[in-house]
Amino acid sequence: MRLLEAVRIALQMIWAQKLKSFFSLVGVTIGVTFLIAVVSIVQGMNVYMEDQFANRLVGLNTFQLRRFPGINMGDISEETWREWLRRPRITYDDADYVEERVKTTVVLSRYCQERMTISYGGKQAKDIEVQGADAAFFQIKNYEIAAGRPFSPQEARVGAPVVVIGDLLAEKLYEGLDPVGKTALIGGLPYRIIGVVAKQGTIFGISLDKFVVVPFNAPTRRKICMYNTMDELYVQAASSPVMLTAMDEVESMMRSRRQLKPTEESNFYLQTAEGALEGWQRISRILFMALPGLVAISLVVGGIVIMNIMLMAVAERTREIGIRKALGAKRRDILAQFIVESATISTVGAIFGIGLGIGLAFTVKALTPFPAAVAPWSLGVAVALGISVGMSAGIYPASRASKLDPIVALRSE
């Protein structure tokens, strides 16, 4: 009740002296803006990277058996590169070996890809990602078929010249036509279009629809895969724990197949969505480590400004303090009044900062491909920081006020 009164007095003061309040709030506001904006952007990136980037590139609950990591962020040393290039490729026999022996229930697909030119009639589409895969690939990538159908396991096994095309290609080469049933030339070889994959959208501004899927054994295989090898073997499990079991299994199978000693490093790589995110996670960790420093600096500055404002307030309102003391206010009453006032100012600053931070995050979201997601915990932290900065900044001025001699204070003007 008395707390509410102090809060009310503080809000009145902020409102009465808008310009002064602006300067007193600005430090805390900037600190909190930083906090909210950076956390929101990083958090949004996290969600985006996990949901969109990694799961789209790799697949949900899926890992790839590869020669070496395919998605890399950050620098890779010359030495690492040389080691990677010395590794044996993944062969058909490797894939068969895994498929025959794996005990966990999984879905597999061999996979190769190469950028090629595709033409229809007089039109050409360059730089299209031609993906050779097994029938399970559509399920693994969660491709939604917008028209027609995916190819069947039979078509995949015999390597029928059929193709399922991405949305971009359907638009570019078959504008105004139904592509299903038409023929496309892939690397000069004719393929019958049997399906179209629904639009995937973009990731960091790059279209995800510039692809076609052909059966792994189809005639183009020679152009997209080296003899008897593949880029990767997709393995999808029903859930994340099952995937981890499958990974263990595949790892030990491959190690024993390649006769690696326990001390030797694996000369293959199991890439998961999370693994692909490692680089990003390193960046976000650095941001999160730098964040407290940035926020702390502005909050300390903000706290010092508030302390000065409160010292001025105490000087200006000496008479009020005298009156309150004459009417029976104890030291702790005056102390509490000014600390609450200081905390209120700072909290108002924090609330502005929350608004600005969210605004900034959403501006970034609107103007760049980066998404933003406000983390609820960051709002709690912001308010808590606001209150505690204000309280600590208020202690010294409030204690000066509480120690004033009422006689002297009453006489002041």
């Binding site: 009740m1 008395r2 009164e5 007095i9 009145q12 009465a16 008479r319 009020e320 005298g322 009156i323 309150r324 003391k325 004459a326 009417l327 029976g328 206010a329 104890k330 030291r331 702790r332 009453d333 009422p406 006689i407 009453l410």
Partner: protein, 234 residues
């Protein structure tokens, strides 16, 4: 002596002004009984203000004893004095000393805030007090929307709201014209008739004439202490 509200026994108050000791009160012994109406007079430098601060528990004596309503307040801590001011003393100042940003009602409620009353009780008591000084229709006005006489009446309501033992007024009419001064003196007379003990510091003889007893200070000592014959019988 059982009905004594204020008892001063050999009160001295000295100030150390940069090595030089200034003696404001040089040994004052004074008793004020319940329902007395006392004016304290004296030229400037006589020690009026010091006496007033001591009576009001804003200051403590260098030497001597001060008993207020049966408790010795001359040796109390700051917080204990704050409690005594809150419960026993109702201040009325020359410059009104109202909080400018608060309404009349909020100003009157202030002592009750420090007494720890609930907001409902505070409001009811503050409304009562404003009624008593005839300001029931000005409760939500701020001081700058009130005349000088009205402001002083708000201050009187604030002084009375805790039902204090003493109404302590420091030049209560010093900032008012003579008509308004008379109005305030009528309020004081009315309160005194209802049994309120009033101590008033003034240097105006016609204001002091409203009191039953006049204590004259000079050079930190009581020079004279006269009770008017007519009302003294009470």
């Amino acid at each position: 002596m059982s009905d004594a509200v204020i008892q001063f026994r050999g009160i001295r108050r000295e100030y150390d002004m940069g090595g030089e000791v200034v003696r404001a009160l040089a040994g004052v012994t004074l008793t004020i009984r319940r329902n007395e109406y006392v004016a304290i007079m004296g030229p400037s430098g006589s020690g009026k203000s010091t006496l007033m601060n001591l009576i009001g528990c804003l200051d403590t004596p260098t030497e001597g004893e001060y008993w207020l309503n049966g408790q010795e307040v001359s040796r109390m801590t700051d917080d204990a004095l704050a409690r005594v001011r809150n419960k026993e003393i109702g201040f009325v100042f020359q410059t009104f000393n109202l909080l400018p940003r608060a309404t009349a009602l909020q100003n009157v409620e202030l002592p009750l805030v420090y007494a720890g009353l609930s907001s409902r009780l505070r409001r009811r008591s503050a409304e009562d007090a404003l009624n008593r000084v005839g300001l029931a229709d000005r409760m939500y006005h701020r001081p700058n929307e009130l005349s000088g006489g009205q402001r002083q009446r708000v201050a009187i309501a604030r002084a009375l709201v805790n039902r204090p033992s003493i109404l302590l007024a420091d030049e209560p009419t010093g900032n008012l014209d003579s008509a308004t001064s008379e109005e305030i003196m009528r309020v004081f007379g009315h309160l005194h008739a209802q049994g309120q003990t009033i101590v008033m510091v003034t240097h105006e003889a016609d204001i002091a004439a409203h009191a039953d007893r006049v204590v004259l200070l000079r050079d930190g000592l009581v020079e004279s202490d006269t009770t008017r014959e007519t009302n003294a019988a009470a």
